[in-house]
Symmetry: C2
DNA sequence: CTGAAAGCGCTTACAG
DNA sequence: CTGAAAGCGCTTACAG
C-alpha cells in the first residue's frame, strides 16, 4: 500500500513550514498575509502531487467531521429513499457528506444509532423520530449538536423541524371527496402514535364534520405485514358496504387496499373511490391511476438541509430555529372520478 | 457543550495509565496479563461514566475507520434500496458502519465519490460500477483497499464480485415463454454497456435460438425519462403487431411497458404476455400480477458483505477472492398465463 | 509574513 | 503486570 502523502512531505519538498501550507490550503492565505506567489506555488505543487489532507486528522483537531447523520425510517421506502437522495446531493454541494441509517421506527434501535453517530462525531442530525425519542434529541441539543426533525416533530422539543402540513393536506383531500359527492368516506390509518398520523386523522375528521357526514376510521396494526394488512382490509371493506370512498393514510396502506379491492373484485372508482396519502410512481402507471396527496419531496429535502446548515453555521448562542410546514399537493387522477 | 470524557480522564480518575485502560478496552487484558480485578474495575468504571472512546482518534492511530463505502447506482431505486438496507444491517453486526452514495451510473461522479471515500479512509468498498471504472477500482486494489463489485463485474479487474447469474436467469425466463408456446418474444433493454445487460440479452438470444424462433430486440436510451420510454414503447408495440410476449430487462422498463400497453388498450396476457427482470412489490398487487425474475436480495447482500469481510480480515498477501454468481428465481404470475 | 510547538485522543512498541 | 513516550496528520495560538 503506497504511503499517503502528508502535509509534512509537502512541507519538506517545498522547504517551508507545515503551518504555512495549512493556512494556504484552508483559504487563510490572505488573512495570514502570505504572499500570492507563495500561495500559488504551494497550490500548484499540492495539485501536482495530488496531495489530499487526511480528513481524520483534520477532524480530530478541528472537532468537525463535515458529516451529517440522516436517520430515516427505512431507506428502502420509496419516500425516504427519494428524500435521502436529494439531501445527499444538496449536502454534497455544501461540502457535507451524509451518513444514513434506517431507524425502522424502533426507539431502541434509534437510540443506539444516535450513540453510534455521536461516536463518529457527526456535525448535525436530520431525524425522522420514532415516538419516545424526546430525551435523546434533547440530549443532542444540550450538547450543542444541531438537530432537524423531519417528517414529524416531537412535542416539547424546541428545535428546527420540516414537516408536511399534514392537517391541511388531509383536510383538503377529504374535502375534495365530499365536494365530489362522496358521503361515506372511510379513513384507513396505522395505529401508531406519531404526529403526522395524528394530524392526518384530525384533518379528515374536521372535513367530514364540516360536510355533516359521519366519520369511519379503521386502524391497522403498525407491525402487520403486507398480507395481514390485505386481510384486515378485506374484512373491513366487506362489512362496510355503504362506504363509497376510502382515504388511505399512507401509500403502503393504499397498496394493501388496492390488493384487497382486487380480491373482492370491486372496481375503482365505480364501487369505491380511493385516495392515498403520499404519492408513488406506480399510482400513475396502472389504471385506474390513483388520486394522491403528494409530498413535495425535493422541497422537503431542501428545507431540511437548509435548516440544518443554518444551525451549523450559527455561532454558539445565535441559533435560529426553523419550524416549517410545507404544503402538499393534491394530484387528482382517475380513482376519484365521479 | 459538555466536554466529552477522554481516556486520560478515566486514567486520572482511576490513577492508572492510559495504556492499561486502552488495553483493557480493546480486549487485550489477557494478552497483556492484566489482572482480572483491574480489568473488571476499569470496565465497571467506564460503563458507569458512560465513556465512549473517540473513534476519530482511534481511526487516526490505527488507520482503520470501520466504515464501508457502499456505492449503488441510485439509492432511491427499489432494488438498491433493499440491498442497501440489508447490507447496512449485516455490516452493523460485524461492527462496520456503512456510508452510501448514489453513482447515477455516471463515471465522473463515481470517480469523485471514490476519491471522497478515500479521503474519509473507508476500510473497504462495495461498488456497482459504471462502465469505465476499471482503472479506478484497480487503483484501490493497488493501494491495498478491498473492493467487492456488485450487480456487475468489470472485465480485467481481478477482485471479488457478487452478481446474479444473469445469463441463466434470462435464458430460463425466455425458455419458460417458449415452452408456454409464445412465438414472437421481444426483448426490451437499455442501451447501456454493462455486463448484466449484456448477459441478459445473450441469455434471451440463446433461448430464442434454441426454440428456433426469431429474436426481436428493442433498445431504449438509458438517459430517457419515464414518459419518453413510454412513448418509445408505444411506437414499438404498435408496429410489432405479431409480438405475443415481451421480456423487459429491468422492472422500470416493465413499468413503462405496462403504461404503454394501457395507453394502447391492450390486455395482458390475452394480447401480449409480459415478464420483467427484477421483481417489484407492485408486481404482486395489481392485476394481472406480473411474472418476474426475482433477484434474491438478501442473499446478494449477504454474499457481498461476506466477501468484503473476508478481504478485510485477510492479512496482506493472503487475499481470498470470491467470485459469486447467484441464481435468480422465476416467479410465475398471471401476466404469462396462457 | 513565517515557523516551532502544543494539542486533538487514541494506540502500541519498548522498557522495566 | 504496568507506564512513559512517541506517533497518527492535522490546526492554530503564540512569538518573532
Amino acid at each position: 500500500m503506497a504511503k499517503r502523502l502528508s502535509i509534512r512531505d509537502i512541507a519538506n519538498e517545498l522547504q517551508i513550514s507545515k503551518t504555512t501550507i495549512s493556512f494556504i490550503l484552508n483559504g487563510k492565505a490572505k488573512e495570514k498575509r502570505i504572499s500570492d506567489e507563495l500561495a500559488e506555488k504551494v497550490m500548484k505543487h499540492v495539485a501536482q502531487r495530488a496531495y489530499k489532507p487526511n480528513q481524520l486528522a483534520k477532524s480530530l483537531s478541528t472537532g468537525k467531521t463535515m458529516m451529517i447523520g440522516l436517520m430515516v425510517e427505512n431507506i428502502s421506502d420509496y419516500f425516504f429513499a427519494q428524500v435521502a437522495y436529494h439531501i445527499e446531493e444538496l449536502a454534497y454541494q455544501h461540502g457535507y457528506r451524509i451518513i444514513y441509517c434506517s431507524t425502522d421506527n424502533d426507539l431502541h434501535k434509534t437510540q443506539e444509532l444516535i450513540s453510534m453517530f455521536r461516536e463518529r462525531h457527526v456535525d448535525g442530525y436530520i431525524i425522522t423520530a420514532p415516538a419516545g425519542l424526546e430525551k435523546d434529541v434533547q440530549g443532542l441539543l444540550d450538547d450543542g449538536l444541531p438537530v432537524v426533525l423531519f417528517d414529524r416533530y416531537l412535542k416539547g422539543v424546541d428545535t428546527s423541524y420540516v414537516i408536511l402540513d399534514n392537517y391541511k393536506a388531509s383536510y383538503d383531500a377529504t374535502k375534495y371527496l365530499t365536494d365530489q359527492g362522496f358521503e361515506n368516506i372511510a379513513f384507513v390509518e396505522l395505529d401508531s402514535d406519531q404526529s403526522q398520523m395524528h394530524d392526518r386523522r384530525e384533518g379528515y375528521l374536521q372535513a367530514v364534520a364540516d360536510a355533516h357526514l359521519a366519520p369511519l376510521i379503521k386502524k391497522i396494526p403498525f407491525t402487520s405485514d403486507f398480507d395481514q394488512k390485505v386481510k384486515e382490509l378485506v374484512k373491513f371493506i366487506r362489512k362496510s358496504e355503504d362506504v363509497d370512498a376510502i382515504f388511505f393514510a399512507t401509500n403502503y396502506l393504499a397498496f394493501s387496499g388496492i390488493k384487497a379491492l382486487n380480491q373482492l373484485k370491486m372496481h375503482t372508482p365505480q364501487d369505491v373511490a380511493i385516495v392515498a396519502f403520499d404519492d408513488h410512481e406506480v399510482f400513475n402507471i396502472y389504471s385506474p391511476t390513483v388520486t394522491a396527496v403528494a409530498q413535495p419531496i425535493k422541497k422537503l429535502a431542501q428545507q431540511s438541509i437548509n435548516a440544518l446548515l443554518k444551525m451549523l453555521d450559527a455561532k454558539d448562542g445565535t441559533q435560529t430555529l426553523e419550524k416549517i410546514e410545507v404544503a402538499a399537493e393534491l394530484i387528482i387522477r382517475d380513482s376519484t372520478k365521479v
